[in-house]
Amino acid sequence: MDARTRALYVERAVWPIGKGDRNFWLAVVVLSAMVAGGLYAWVYQLQRGLWVTGLNQKVSWGFYIINCVFFIGMSYGGAMTSAILRLTNAKWRAPLTRIAEATAVAALLVGAVYPIIDLGRPDRFLNVIRYAQVGSPIVWDVVAIGTYTIASFVFLYLPLIPDLAIAREALGSRTRILSPIYRVLALGWRGTPSQERALARGIGIMAVLIIPLAVSVHSVLAWLFAVTVRAEWHSTIFAPLFVLGAMFSGVAAVIIVVAALRRVYGLQPFITAKHFRYLSYLLVALGLAYVYFMISEYLTEGYVFEESTTPVLESLLTGAYAPAFWSFSIGGLVLPLVIAALPGRFPVARACVASALVIAGMWLKRFLIVVPGMANPIVPWDWGRYQPTWVEIAITAGSAAAIPLMLIVFFRFFPVMSVHELDEVEGVYEPPVPRVAPAFSGGD
């Protein structure tokens, strides 16, 4: 990469920092309003109890558990994308890793809050710590998610160290307020060989560690279901299915976030159609694997027609949940794979459309795991019914809005693309760090 292109890369990477244009504030206001709506709904629920939701004696897991699995799954894609690209030394990773890592942290923070919302009484969460039972999947979940959260923050921070030093020099007076923060967080980075070695070792450890951590989180989430007595959940395939589903929806989320930030921050010269093609290939590969796992699960159940699992299978294929099931299978699984896999024009748009369908479909899939499984009685009762209320919908919308809000606020303070990683990929390069010219607007 020549000096001019690198200078442009640096300028684009730090362009959002300190920028408070009208679009930024409009986005913050709109997203904050949605988050505030979600918070109001939660306070309403805290005051009146869980009866304001659609949860009931027969279906005691609903939107909140679905969202927990969904958002934590989304975070997995970000972490895995960044880790795998680093470990395979993919040359095209530099503009993507920061966005992927930040998406992972934002989605994880949202997903990890949901079990507390589902508790109804948040203070009861302390009982998990005070009276922890080693044999309880809830305790496994708390430990796994807690460890994964810390690891995600570390994985986000370590590559930031050199970029903060670069940003501080590049932005000059624009970072008067941020400069002391950058100085502290950059730990005196000078790019010396010993510092490079220390950083490379730390990032290498994290890139390797984050993968089994993320696998463990989703496996434990799956075991929350699989170790119960409900036949439709008590399946050995649940853990791999959850892990794969998390990667699938997570990569889709990364594609959407990358596309959005690319457009908003004018990153088109560096995040090109090639990146979206490669991410689409990854999406298709994960999607095909997910189709295989699903066929394996339903074929096994359907061939045997065991008494305990047949009612749920019937409800999914031809019964009350059939519209949702076939919407997911065709609209959320097959169709996006076709859109993403077929060659043609508009790779970015096609990747985005496919990813949006995948995200919607995977949320629906989590719904189809949780609610029919709960509704099917394990004693001779009628089937349960679940109708979410405005409280659950508002909290879901608020938490979904929190992710882009956190991202745009984060990139207001930190570089959106990794400069140091670009140098690693392109070869050691030490030009004088240019001062950033006043903004030129983004847009496609």
Binding site: T147, L158, I161, L187, G188, T192, Q195, R197, I205, L209
Partner: protein, 177 residues
């Protein structure tokens, strides 16, 4: 005593009060516990035969309750018995009841005795792989602590390396100056 009443040209007999005497004796074989003997009779000594007698042991389970331990039927002499091996040692209060039969009233008898013989404590069978399961928490705990240690090393080791490099760099610049 029989009281005859006339009501609409039909004679009715008053109910005779039955009395329930209970006695507890140790069984000939110690491991069989105790024999609860009952004699059901009227106040003038006449036996109450073929009456069902129920035996209860008073226990505490969220309050005072009577635990049903068995029943038997009195013979021609008004006698019956039940073998009982208590579940615990110590003082037991037994309640024996007979329901009303023919022209005999219901009766209740109580007795308290000190049990020096009891059934052996129930020992559940060990769960499959119990020995392995006991070690799993330690294994998992070791893995979790190792992961945390690796995380701490990645973060603080890197920070230490970067800060050390900055220090060396500043020193070199100072030396050159």
């Amino acid at each position: 005593m029989t009281l005859m009443l006339t009501f609409g040209n039909v004679a009715l007999a008053d109910h005779l009060k039955a009395i329930c005497d209970v006695q507890v004796t140790a069984s000939a074989k110690l491991e069989q516990g105790y024999v609860l003997g009952v004699r059901l009779h009227t106040s003038d000594g006449r036996p109450v035969n073929e009456a069902t007698v129920r035996f209860y042991d008073k226990v505490e389970l969220f309050g005072d309750r009577e635990m049903y331990i068995g029943s038997s039927i009195t013979d021609g002499q008004g006698n019956t018995s039940l073998r009982y091996l208590p579940a615990r040692l110590g003082t037991h209060e037994l309640v024996v009841r007979s329901s009303s039969k023919d022209h005999f009233t219901a009766a209740e008898g109580r007795v308290t005795f000190e049990a020096t013989v009891a059934a052996p404590a129930y020992r559940s069978e060990p769960a499959p792989l119990a020995a392995f399961s006991a070690l799993v928490p330690y294994g998992v705990g070791a893995v979790v602590i190792s992961v945390w240690a690796l995380l701490a090393f990645a973060l603080f080791g890197t920070a230490r390396g970067v800060l050390g490099g900055a220090r060396d760099h500043a020193q070199k610049k100072g030396d050159l100056a």
